[in-house]
């Protein structure tokens, strides 16, 4: 029974993943839009502000990219919330929930779609960064670390996005939740080192998740030891994932009972 349930779960999730990937292929603008804001920030900071910012290394693109990648994910997940919201508001969500399918497959279809869509946006941003002079000599292991941490971060934020997707009353409400997430990297080591920030701001910047994640990615790409930042970053992502998943599933169960 359990194994057939799991097989059905996998096959239903795959069917629903295929469906929302088809949505994305028919509106590639969602991927482009996701990548545009981070790319614009990359251009702005490198070519306009970058000349006045001293980060203690030659290549400011290298310094900037990790934070830009996090902003990409933060803006990408608002589409995940939007796609889920659309299913709920059109009644398709209820139709699927009243069918003899593995019920959570509906959520997992959206979550996996989010991973795929964000991965494509991230690749686009990295390609632009390469054109702008981003270089890394990192080996396979370091790149796997980068991809793994970004995947974990995306998964955590995606489950967070499921909550407004299920509960929002309007499209504005859906997209609004991601603004603070996009803003968070500004008060971190993403754009400038935290050393120059005044006391309380510096304390916040050094103890919020973005800084440890950015530092970890930056060190991995620069072939430097990751140090404590690595574990702190993973702990933040896993902690966020567990909390977001629990809250999302609680919201989901309320929605369907």
């Amino acid at each position: 029974m359990t194994s057939t349930m799991n097989a059905a779960h996998v096959s239903d999730t795959a069917t629903l993943l295929g469906r929302s990937l088809r949505h994305i292929s028919r509106s590639p603008d969602t991927i482009i839009t996701t990548a545009i804001t981070p790319v614009a920030m990359l251009l702005l900071f490198v070519y306009v502000l970058g000349g006045s910012i001293s980060v203690g290394q030659e290549n400011y693109v290298n310094y900037l990219l990790p934070g830009i990648l996090l902003i990409t994910v933060a803006s990408g997940i608002s589409y995940t919330a939007f796609r889920l919201f659309t299913d709920v508001s059109t009644g398709l969500f209820e139709r699927l929930q009243s069918m003899p399918i593995a019920r959570s497959a509906v959520l997992w279809g959206h979550v996996l779609t989010s991973i795929v869509a964000n991965a494509v946006s991230l690749v686009l941003v990295v390609l632009v960064a390469l054109l702008m002079g981003f270089r890394s000599g990192a080996g396979i292991a370091a790149w796997l670390g980068v991809v793994g941490l970004l995947a974990l971060f995306t998964l955590a934020l995606t489950w967070l996005a499921v909550i407004p997707g299920l509960t929002a009353k309007s499209v504005d409400g859906v997209s609004g939740f991601s603004y603070p997430l996009v803003f968070l990297p500004f008060i971190s080591s993403a754009f400038v080192p935290t050393d120059g920030m005044p006391g309380p701001v510096r304390w916040f910047a050094e103890h919020q998740p973005v800084t440890s994640i950015v530092n970890t990615l930056r060190h991995l790409l620069a072939e430097q030891p990751v140090g404590d930042d690595g574990w702190i970053a993973v702990a933040w992502c896993v902690g966020l994932l567990v909390v977001a998943y629990a809250l999302a599933m609680r919201t989901y169960r309320r929605r369907i009972s």
């Binding site: 057939t4 059905a8 096959s11 239903d12 069917t15 629903l16 469906r19 088809r22 949505h23 028919r26 509106s27 059109t90 009644g91 398709l92 209820e94 139709r95 699927l96 929930q97 009243s98 069918m99 003899p100 399918i101 369907i256 009972s257």
Partner: protein, 257 residues
């Protein structure tokens, strides 16, 4: 998963069902029995609790007390068996607007694990007069076409019980008659249909039996003839019958069927 046995006895039984939202008692002790293969109309004003009852019967909502069974399965304790036996067509045509009509049908076919989703989709497109629009996105469909697609999606997997929640609300008169004809054909084929409506003529046209839901209770339940007997006997009066505006409209637009 076993296929539900053909319904013997009533398709749907409801006993003492209650549901409250805070202080507001939406369903206040509902008792209802619906014979297999019949069309049963649930008649009531907006907010009378029709949708709440349908949501409980289709396992989307749990009742506060009382029991309900669908083809012998309890909605609270055997929701998966109930879902295998039903299809829900909600108040708003719940179709995926980004997919084409054909893709919508194939999506449901895959999720219901039917043998040949493509063949079933083609068959339903023909049956519901959607061949020409089959490969257009559902977003381009008219209200009547969306509703037909919606009902076609509900028929995949031949569920013995169909819930139609206000299937003709918002449709033009021609589409309304199309939906009526479809529902009649389904019942003739042995499907049990529970239909909610706020239109008296719709209930009279379609239903074998009618329950009137008012103030959270079923205040009358029976065939149209039985309900008529609740009133004083008819007396013969001379009335000059004027065509209704609907008669005029249908005569003018030609009624191609």
């Amino acid at each position: 998963m076993t296929i539900s046995p053909p319904p013997v006895g009533p398709a749907i039984t409801v006993a003492g069902l209650t549901k409250s939202y805070g202080e507001h008692r939406v369903l206040d002790g509902i008792d209802l029995t619906i014979a297999a293969g019949s069309i049963h109309a649930l008649l009531g004003a907006n907010g009378a609790g029709k949708t709440t009852l349908v949501r409980i019967l289709s396992t989307l909502l749990t009742a506060d007390s009382g029991t309900a069974t669908v083809v012998g399965h309890d909605v609270a304790t055997q929701p998966h068996q109930v879902r295998a036996a039903i299809s829900l067509t909600g108040q708003f045509a719940a179709v995926d607007e980004i997919l084409t009509g054909r893709e919508n049908l194939m999506l449901i076919g895959r999720l219901r694990h039917v043998a040949d989703p493509r063949a079933i989709a083609s068959d339903l497109l023909a049956r519901f007069d959607l061949i020409d629009a089959a490969d257009r996105r559902a977003a381009t469909y008219s209200g009547g076409m969306r509703r037909r697609l919606d009902i076609a999606m509900s028929l995949i997997g031949d569920p013995p019980v169909l819930f139609l929640d206000e299937p003709t609300t918002g449709l033009d008169p021609q589409s309304r008659i199309e939906v009526w004809r479809t529902v009649g054909e389904l019942a003739a084929g042995g499907t049990t249909v529970l239909l909610t409506t706020q239109y008296l003529d719709e209930a009279e046209q379609l239903a074998d039996s009618i329950a009137i839901l008012h103030g959270g209770r079923i205040i009358a339940d029976g065939t149209v003839a039985e309900l008529r007997e609740l009133l004083p006997p008819a007396k013969v009066e001379y009335v000059q019958k004027q065509p209704t505006l609907e008669d005029v409209f249908l005569a003018l637009v030609g009624q191609q069927q």
